[in-house]
């Protein structure tokens, strides 16, 4: 998604305010994939992710007449999805933590790699693991920036942070990736 698409989305939001169902469909069409990916990261459960998406789009339609966009429609949708998912997480008690995979044997990975050549697929897997090692909020800021094409201002809006803090999170996240990458010993 680039800047044009951002503009596009906000135009759709205008049409949505006038109960335009095609606009509603288009918003769903272009946002459901990234939003599902984002909720899934918070909820860690596909069925729940779908529920959250449905709730949020339901609400978007219900509230279309009073729709007020602060930063962008995109930031608004992410904020709605985030609040909803966090609420559910809170309610689901601590059971969650038992099944949460945080460190997928990262030491093993590092060792077996030094002498082998890196495949892109393998490298991807390492990056996935390393992103998971970040403190939760840092990981979230990085993921939104890297994989959701969000501006740092939008991320700030969604996560309730200043833009500068988002910048810092991203730099620190990249530094962590670099440290881990250097440990692989590939040049």
């Amino acid at each position: 998604m680039d800047i044009d698409e951002h503009v596009q989305l906000d135009k759709l939001a205008e049409r949505l305010k006038h109960s335009d169902q095609d606009a509603y469909a288009e918003i769903f069409q272009c946002m459901h994939e990234p939003l599902l990916r984002y909720v899934y990261r918070i909820a860690k459960d596909e069925a729940l992710a779908l529920d959250v998406l449905q709730d949020v789009f339901m609400k978007l339609w219900e509230k279309r007449l009073e729709l007020e966009i602060q930063v962008s429609l995109k930031a608004l949708l992410y904020t709605m999805v985030r609040n909803r998912a966090l609420n559910i997480n809170r309610k689901r008690s601590r059971m969650m933590y038992d099944t949460e995979l945080v460190t997928e044997n990262s030491t093993e990975v590092t060792e077996s790699l030094v002498e082998n050549e890196l495949h892109t697929g393998q490298l991807k897997a390492y990056f996935k693991t390393w992103v998971k090692e970040l403190p939760p909020r840092r990981a979230e800021a990085f993921i939104l920036s890297r994989y959701h094409a969000m501006s740092n201002r939008e991320i700030g809006e969604v996560m309730g942070l200043s833009k500068r803090t988002v910048d810092t999170h991203i730099v620190h996240a990249l530094r962590h990736l670099k440290r881990r990458y250097d440990q692989l010993g590939v040049t």
Binding site: D2, F28, L36, R137
Partner: protein
């Protein structure tokens, strides 16, 4: 390629970084492409979901049009979402399809159950809490806030545990070696008590091992160094640059282990790592806006630990800083 936009986002964040590091971080940005986790959701599921939404949207649209036609001011209040949604879902599951759904669900649960059973066990102490774990061999592990251990459900050959974060181990004696793996070191023991603190993404990524009794063999995993045999009372840090024996005595070791009693004790520790620990222990977000203070040595002791705000208030007073609440935490800044 949508390069310009991508680059703008990144360059924005990198504006304060020196040029040499910038290049390295750009490489990381490039290499991390497509490394996001993707949920396993089928397009039929998304389509069904969209059908629900589209139905509600068109029904409500007709309803509000009628309202307008019926000279009523169109009320934005629609039936609330929860009442609305249930009937739609139920209507879809009737007769045979319900039986199918039932048996498919049964098979799915079974498969998931087996998969879960065979998977390694993962235990996490949530942010703001601590936890203790009993292993099948009788050993116990105390986990500090935000720490995770992973171990096989059944030990075979060795007792192998991977640790992300900080934990205190009380290992039951046995001929089977007990190995703790961190991101950069292995600690091998037979039966003993020791503490390992290993945060790979902290200000200073290091594994710090404190031995309280018995003996362990410590081998850095990414360096070609000889394993070290530790004796009780010793503390050793494994870092990227090499291993360092940390001068320690009974008092210092007591500080390092104070977390187990729920206390918050730091002696001459870098401010930034103190704040990282506070973030984990209280499950909050602490932002330091004064970068030049990050490495300043800090000493404080709360026995038992008080509220985060109280700790930060005193810390700020001592460092001549101010603090104010932000979303889920506090920021520290200069007047």
């Amino acid at each position: 390629m949508k390069k310009p936009d991508t680059d703008k986002r990144l360059e924005d964040a990198l504006s304060d970084v020196d040029p040499e590091e910038k290049e390295a971080l750009r490489t990381m940005w490039r290499l991390s492409a497509d490394a996001d986790e993707v949920p396993n959701i089928r397009s039929e599921q998304v389509n069904a979901l969209w059908q629900n939404l589209a139905n509600v949207a068109s029904n409500q649209n007709i309803a509000s049009n009628q309202d307008i036609a019926g000279n009523q001011p169109a009320p934005p209040t629609q039936p609330s979402f929860n009442q609305d949604r249930q009937p739609i879902r139920r209507a879809k599951r009737t007769g045979i399809s319900r039986i199918w759904a039932g048996s498919a669900l049964g098979v799915m649960l079974l498969v998931v159950g087996i998969a879960l059973w065979l998977r390694p066990v993962v235990k996490t102490a949530p942010y703001g809490e601590q936890a203790s774990v009993h292993l099948p061999d009788g050993s116990t592990i105390e986990l500090n806030s935000g720490s995770t251990i992973t171990y096989p459900r059944f030990f075979s050959g060795t007792r192998s545990i991977s640790l992300h974060g900080e934990a205190y181990f009380d290992v039951t004696e046995s001929d089977v070696p007990f190995i703790v793996e961190t991101f950069n070191a292995n600690v091998q023991v037979l039966g003993t008590t020791f503490n390992v603190k290993a945060w790979p993404s902290g200000w200073q990524p290091e594994s710090v091992v404190t031995l309280t009794s018995g003996s362990v063999r410590l081998s850095p995993s990414t360096l070609s160094e000889e394993p070290l045999v530790m004796t009780p009372g010793q503390t050793i840090a494994v870092r990227q640059e090499g291993t360092e024996m940390i001068e320690s005595d009974a008092e210092k070791n007591e500080h390092l282990l104070a977390w187990r009693k729920g206390e918050l004790v730091f002696k001459d520790q870098k401010l930034i790592s103190v704040l990282e620990e506070i973030e984990r222990r209280y499950g909050i977000n602490v932002e330091l806006r004064v970068n030049q203070l990050a490495e300043k040595g800090v000493t404080l002791a709360y026995r038992p630990a008080t509220s985060a705000e109280n700790v930060l208030e005193n810390l700020c007073h001592a460092l001549n800083l101010q603090y104010r609440p932000i979303s889920n935490g506090y920021e520290l800044f200069e007047e």
